[in-house]
């Protein structure tokens, strides 16, 4: 299969020198964004971008941002601690996080901890629901979250300074500068967050002990125009964080955990007639240190370095047909105190086809195959279609096969790793309907997923815990999104709401998976009048089960954020705001035995200078 792809790719390469015509709009998009597939090949699925006004109201926690503005559920081990997403009732490993087009989920545990990413490091955040392994590889099963840095040539230099300070000595600082000339485009950001995080456990006369954290991140992206047809781009992201893992109601913790990640990518974009080629070279490192007792020098660690090369060629076959082929090869080198030192190499080839049948109707087809020196991967596919029946109604259908590869911990944990593991895989289908009326948009998506060979760590008869491809899980559910914008003179209103109904059951038990709420809803209402903005955001999180027999559960809860800000600036922005988080002072636990903060406050100041 792989050879077929290689052959295809070669054929496409040859074509490149034969055909020809430019398309400047397409070209611009390709230069501005590194992950252009997100817009180009996601017509049959739902992609939501978090807009600037949402991003500006979020201070600090990326986890809270997504909780309040998407259907994704998070399991957060106490405020600010490890936060694992669950998208459409799947696992954290089945939610892919894509940084400027490449997958950055941890090679060690397969997931991304959303408290080790700062939203301020990106100027475009997209959420793509449903399967996407053909485009984004391992982990894009429940959906994917896209973190992008857009590069603009020919723009004025713009400085942005953001700060927030609030309860529990929580401080956030962020500085961003971007700009571009004819030849250059750049964007630099630096962020620092810290908190004592010693909130009261409501009604318990004690505080969240040992929960303090800090992190700092630096991002840098730059683009250089070699000539009309060739661009070089460079992206870099560094994150360094330290958290004391907080205790629980019954445990006083002394743990400390450090994360250090670097992500660097060089990209060469080249246009030739109908062809756009992109060559990417990326080097990613991840490392953790875990101190059982922060006062002792003893710690365990794990680290993985990843080298990735990718060749991406897209061709405008005709006005109506786009074809895209991607080949990539990556090598992971892992080591750690608890894993065997191993190297693994994965190569893959994929081909995506999009055909605009008419102005209102298109379809997409995709296929991907992967080879690895460690395991066998299934052949993946995707097929989708979108039909705009009229201005009011659009219908989308999509089916795909997706997968998630075993992690270094699964494969090589000393003594208990299982080198025989296969990837988890999922067959899924969805139907989405979109209703538009004036400034109101309603989307209703139903989906069905069959997960197979799900990994779970289970003890064997002598008590040794090992991961096995044991579980079969069926997930189905409904996602509803409502967007509304209203304007009366100078009064602007915007309303967003979402509701997710999720049934995710192991086939053998017929019980809901633990930590997957059947109901989750959120809503936000923003009002602005001239220089003043007021907003209200609210979340309802349904009951979750904490044991696989569904005997134990955590109660449902809801909480809201309310805030107001005022812009003192004229040409520039000087925005001063105040917000109350967990307005209701709800005493809730997101993970058993770990109470979350009650009502707390924050002031923020944003300066925007041109």
């Amino acid at each position: 299969m792989t050879w077929k792809f290689l052959f295809c790719g070669l054929a496409l390469l040859l074509f490149q020198f034969v055909l020809g015509q430019n398309d400047s709009i397409v070209r611009l998009q390709e230069v501005v964004v590194s992950d252009s597939k997100l817009r180009k090949f996601s017509d049959a699925q739902q992609v939501v971008f978090l807009n600037d006004s949402i991003l500006l109201k979020n201070n600090g926690s990326f986890t809270n941002l997504l909780l309040l503005h998407s259907t994704i559920y998070f399991k957060e081990n106490g405020a600010g601690m490890v936060a694992s997403p669950s998208f459409r009732g799947t696992t954290a490993q089945q939610t892919a996080v894509i940084w400027n087009g490449i997958n950055i989920n941890s090679q060690l545990n397969g997931q991304t901890d959303f408290n080790t990413i700062n939203a301020t490091d990106f100027n475009s955040i997209g959420i793509r629901s449903g399967g996407g392994s053909v485009l984004y590889g391992s982990g894009a099963v429940g959906g994917s979250i896209h973190l992008n840095n857009l590069l603009m040539f020919n723009t004025e230099i713009e400085h942005e300074f953001r700060s927030n300070y609030g309860s529990f000595n929580t401080l956030g600082l962020n500085y961003n500068v971007k700009g571009g000339s004819e030849k250059w485009a750049f964007q630099v950001g630096i962020t620092r967050n810290s908190s004592d995080n010693d909130y009261e456990y409501i009604g318990r006369n004690r505080k969240n002990e040992n929960g303090e954290y800090y992190n700092q991140s630096l991002n840098f992206s730059a683009g250089y125009k070699i000539n009309e047809n060739n661009f070089l781009k460079f992206y870099s992201l560094l994150f360094d964080g330290e958290r004391h893992f907080s205790g629980t109601i019954t445990v006083t913790s002394k743990n400390k955990y450090q994360d250090f990640t670097t992500r660097n990518m060089l990209e060469w974009v080249s246009f030739r007639n109908k062809f756009t080629s992109k060559l990417k070279l990326a080097y990613l490192t991840e490392e953790y240190n875990y101190f059982e007792n922060k006062d002792n020098p003893f710690f365990t660690f794990g680290k993985v370095n990843t080298l990735l090369g990718r060749y991406d060629l897209s061709i405008k076959v005709s006005e109506k047909i786009d074809l895209n082929s991607v080949f990539d090869i990556s090598q992971n080198q892992g080591e750690g105190s608890d894993i065997e030192s191993k190297k693994r190499t994965i190569g893959s080839g994929s081909l995506v086809w999009k055909h605009q049948l008419s102005e209102k109707w298109n379809y997409e087809l995709g296929i991907r195959n992967e080879i690895s020196d460690r395991y066998e991967s299934p052949l993946l596919f995707s097929a989708g279609t979108r039909l705009n029946l009229n201005d009011f109604y659009t219908i989308k259908f999509n089916a795909s096969k997706n997968y998630r590869i075993p992690t270094f911990n699964d494969l090589y944990w000393q003594g208990s790793g299982n080198a025989e593991l296969k990837p988890e895989h999922a067959l899924q289908a969805e139907i989405g309907q979109e209703f538009n009326y004036k400034n109101t948009k309603l989307t209703v998506t139903g989906y069905y997923v069959k997960l197979r060979d799900m990994l779970r760590w289970i003890p064997n008869s002598s008590g040794l815990w090992q991961p096995q491809n044991t579980d079969k899980v069926t997930v189905y559910g409904l996602e509803t999104l409502l967007e509304n914008k209203l304007t009366f003179g100078n009064h602007h209103f915007s309303l967003n709401a979402s509701y997710a109904y999720t049934i995710s059951e192991r086939d053998d038990l017929k019980k809901q998976l633990i930590y997957v709420p059947i109901h989750k809803a959120n809503g936000s209402l923003a009002y602005s009048y001239q220089k003043i903005t007021a907003y209200f955001q609210t979340l309802f999180n349904g009951e979750v089960f904490t044991s696989s027999d569904n005997f134990y559960s955590l109660d449902s809860y809801h909480f809201s954020t309310i805030g107001v800000d005022y812009d003192f600036g004229k040409k520039n922005t000087y925005r001063l705001g105040f917000q109350v988080l967990n307005l209701e002072n709800t005493n809730y636990q997101n993970v058993a035995s770990r109470p979350m903060p009650g009502r707390h406050f924050q002031v923020y100041l944003t300066l925007n200078l041109k």
Binding site: T248, I249, T250, V251, T252, E292, N293, N296, F298, F299, T300, Q414, G415, S416, I458, P459, N460, S461, S462, G463, L464, I514, T546, S547, S548, D549, F551, Y552, A592, S593
Partner: protein, 356 residues
């Protein structure tokens, strides 16, 4: 308080009772939980969901979460490891909470909590009017393990006795403590002997790797070692060591097959019992060879590795942790392995303690 009142209390606390009766109380009952079995459910590490279940001797009354029913405002804690009885008190060792809950063993009324001086506490015993608790210290540090000495009048840790890594089971005999070094994060192979008149380690006895259970009978210490597990990369079989307590020398030892890793050694009426994976074995304590066939296997009940085990009054008790996340199961068998009864208990049943 009779069981009717208790059940009302339990329901009010949102808890769970499967059955109750008020006509079967024994004449000399010392409390609602006298004449029955306490099951310590470990709960999940970090989950704070440790619990105590109760099952009466006549098997007619069962309560899933007895401690919470009696003490609705007190959490038992995280990762219950062991219960030690002394007179009318029970000392419940909470490993991850680094604490000991002192309760009345017959009423389960909470008395106090010992919460300082303990670091990764494991098991408890008593000698010379004091409590002795094995502590791993920081799991990653092999050199900070100790036995905490507890004043039983004011419930404080008054001193500690440093020992080698991974002290686990601890038993008392004639003013001596015998501490099995199962090994903690590593693999131990010794028994420390501690004289409780001066609280010092007086002797070290070499046994097999990973000593996990022991008992004393006729001035002989019987130690069962599991051997090195396969994942250690250097697998070895288990060993049963018999130690003469007059000399502290190993009088004899019996080796298991190189891939056999026995555990759960107990003694009842001159017989010793232990388990390998899901199978239960029995031999005379004077045996000079190991039985080759089990008396029965628990696989018929779906038990996947015996998690906790004991033998009492001609009945064999087996705890099954199921998937280590759901409520566990306990099974009661006759001595020849026929199933007498079973019960769903709390998460990860870790030990059986008889209030008789």
């Amino acid at each position: 308080m009779n069981f009717k009142k208790l059940s009302i209390l339990a329901i009010a606390a949102g808890l769970f009772i499967t059955s109750c009766s008020d006509d079967d109380q024994k004449e000399k009952s010392l409390g609602d939980y006298d004449n029955g079995l306490l099951i310590l459910n470990q709960g999940n590490f970090g989950g704070g969901n440790s619990s105590i279940s109760f099952w009466s001797d006549d098997l007619l009354t069962f309560q899933l979460n007895a401690f919470s029913a009696v003490n609705p405002s007190i959490e038992l804690g995280d990762t219950g490891q062991d219960i030690g009885f002394l007179n009318e008190k029970a000392f419940v060792v909470m490993n991850n909470s680094n604490s000991i809950q002192v309760i009345n063993r017959y009423t389960l009324q909470h008395i106090t909590t010992i919460s300082s001086g303990l670091s990764n506490p494991r098991n408890i015993t008593f000698s010379n009017g004091k409590g002795y608790v094995t502590n791993w210290g920081s799991g990653m540090n092999p050199n900070d393990d100790y036995i905490a000495v507890i004043n039983l009048t004011n419930y404080t840790v008054i001193s500690s006795i440093p020992v080698v890594e991974g002290p686990e089971k601890i038993i008392e005999h004639n003013d001596n403590l015998y501490v099995a070094h199962q090994g903690g994060f590593g693999f131990g192979e010794t028994i420390s002997v501690i004289n409780t008149t001066n609280n010092t380690v007086s002797n070290t006895i070499n046994v097999g790797y990973v000593p996990n259970s022991m008992f004393i009978s006729n001035n002989t210490l019987y130690v069962l070692s599991g051997g090195l597990p396969s994942w250690s990369g250097n697998e070895s079989g288990g060993k049963l060591s018999k130690i003469n307590l007059s000399t502290n020398n190993v009088a004899s030892s019996l080796d298991f097959g190189s891939t056999q890793h026995p555990s759960n050694l107990v003694e009842e009426d001159g017989q010793l019992y232990y388990t390998i994976d899901s199978d239960v074995y029995k031999a005379s304590i004077t045996t000079t060879s190991l039985p080759t066939t089990p008396i029965f296997s628990t696989t018929a009940q779906g038990v996947y590795g015996v998690y906790s085990f004991t033998v009492e009054d001609n009945k064999i008790y087996v705890g099954d942790a199921v998937d280590y996340n759901s409520n566990g199961k306990i099974y009661i068998y006759s001595l020849n392995g026929s199933l007498i009864d079973q019960q769903t208990v709390g998460v990860i049943p870790a030990g059986f303690y008889f209030n008789d």
